[in-house]
């Protein structure tokens, strides 16, 4: 199933369990690996543990047991002060977008660069390049609220790729979009993957995977089912 060349392991999840206070078990004994430059889909119905898995990978939450190793770094053993620098490895696309509606399109996309501390000229150059890739170059002064749902999703993607991350993580990226838009978005992910970015997409919508024939990790009640 894996067609990408093996260039080392980017994500290694070993025997991970996640139990929330109250006893709810979101993940049980999950083990898998994603190679650098691979594109993988994590599927399953809502509540299967997809979002929890993404949170563990990005150190938003810690596993109850087991280990998560990203690009050689053990996430569970990481000091809190290292986490911000660790997160810069990722481009994150959130289910609820998490756009800042009091800032312009340009400022939304340039935020990761400002956080990393790029000089101003470099920020402008990279931001425009990212906006160009998602087809929003003409809208940089607009407010996100004036964009359509599909455009907001593309804005999200621009913000995720502007830092040229090693790993792109998307949580339900085609959630509320019609088929044409969804295909366009998936096509973008494919093109980022082709230039070497590791792509992980969590979705409940298995139709959208369609003709891609990628590697699929199916979660069912917190376990890997495939």
């Amino acid at each position: 199933m894996n067609s990408a060349p093996n260039r080392g392991t980017m994500i290694q999840v070993s025997h991970v369990a996640k139990r929330y206070p109250g006893g709810y078990e979101a993940l049980r004994d999950v083990t898998f690996a994603v190679n650098a430059g691979e594109m993988i889909f994590i599927t399953g119905h809502s509540g299967a543990g997809k979002s929890t898995l993404l949170k563990l990978i990005t150190a938003i939450e810690k596993p109850t047991s087991g280990s998560v190793i990203i690009n050689g770094q053990n996430v569970s053993a990481m000091k809190p002060g290292m986490i911000p620098y660790f997160r810069r490895n990722f481009g994150l696309i959130f289910q609820d977008h998490k756009l800042l509606f009091d800032r312009s399109v340009f400022d939304n996309v340039s935020l990761p660069l400002a956080i990393t501390g790029f000089p101003r000229g470099e920020i402008a150059k990279r931001t425009r390049a990212a906006l160009d890739k998602v087809g929003l170059l003409g809208r940089e002064k607009a407010r996100p609220i004036t964009l359509s749902g599909g455009e907001q999703q593309r804005l999200c993607i621009a913000r995720a790729i502007v830092n040229r991350p090693a790993i792109l993580l998307a949580d339900e990226p085609t959630g509320n979009l019609d088929t044409a838009y969804a295909e366009e978005i998936i096509g973008m992910f494919k093109s980022f993957n082709q230039v070497g970015v590791t792509v992980v997409i969590a979705t409940h919508d298995e139709d959208m995977i369609g003709r891609l024939n990628p590697r699929i990790l199916h979660l069912d009640h917190g376990r890997i089912a495939s």
Partner: protein, 301 residues
Amino acid sequence: MNWLLVHLDTLLESLARLARQPVASALNVIVIGIALSLPAGFYLGLSNLQMFSRQLSSDPQLSIFMTLDASTAEVTAVEQRLKSNSDISRVEFISRDQALVRLKRSASLSDVLASLGHNPLPDAFVITARDNDPATLASLHDQARKWSKVEHVQLDAEWARRLDAALNVGRMLVMLLAVLLAVALVAITFNTIRLQILTRRDEIEVSKLIGATNPFIRRPFLYFGTLQGLCGGFAAWIIVAVAVLVLNIRLADLSGLYGILFRLEWPDLGYTLVLLIFSALLGWLGAWLSVSRHLWQIDPR
């Protein structure tokens, strides 16, 4: 040089944020300014009074009055003792006749004196001590009082010393006031920053998710608090300066009536710098406390 640009950007952004809510910012700055102007103004008034009292009590003088029946020999004996005392730098003898002549120059009293028929004034010495140390003056005072035919010894600087002691009490009150209002300033800033953090919750959460360090998130709030404090300090300076200006007009009338020159000095450079630095520091402290208290509560979910 990049970090310098980052800080400059944050500074400009904080200024823009202050300007974006002109009414709220102005109210905060005015409240801080008034709170600071109270201790700052009292302090300035006190140091003016102190300078004034130092001027007046600059000569450490004692007046020694002889009894009316003291003979010339007895007066000379006292004079010899005074002149041989190493604590005394100058001795001036004012005979009762000289004193009478001086008093007669004052028109309103000459009639009274004429009606008396005899000279009611004693022989007197005005002595100047070598230094301004209150202990030296007090011991001279005690010694001279015991000498024979000495009626009364008066410490001329006594009232100035009392004023000085009163000023010390005043200074303590200013300190207490300053501490209380400094706490108020920190509280005002704490609350302003708390509201800002609440309204910028989304921004903070997203920033944390995409790799912002805590110093990066804190920085704009710290700048805002410091800037607001600094503006408040500036407002306090203006309030104090206007008060000095207005009071000096009335003080000129008042001190003219007493025949003395007393006017409030303007806040000098040192005073201004201390006021501004202090207010900026308190603003920073309030912001820091607020950010430390509230930032960890916003953790990405």
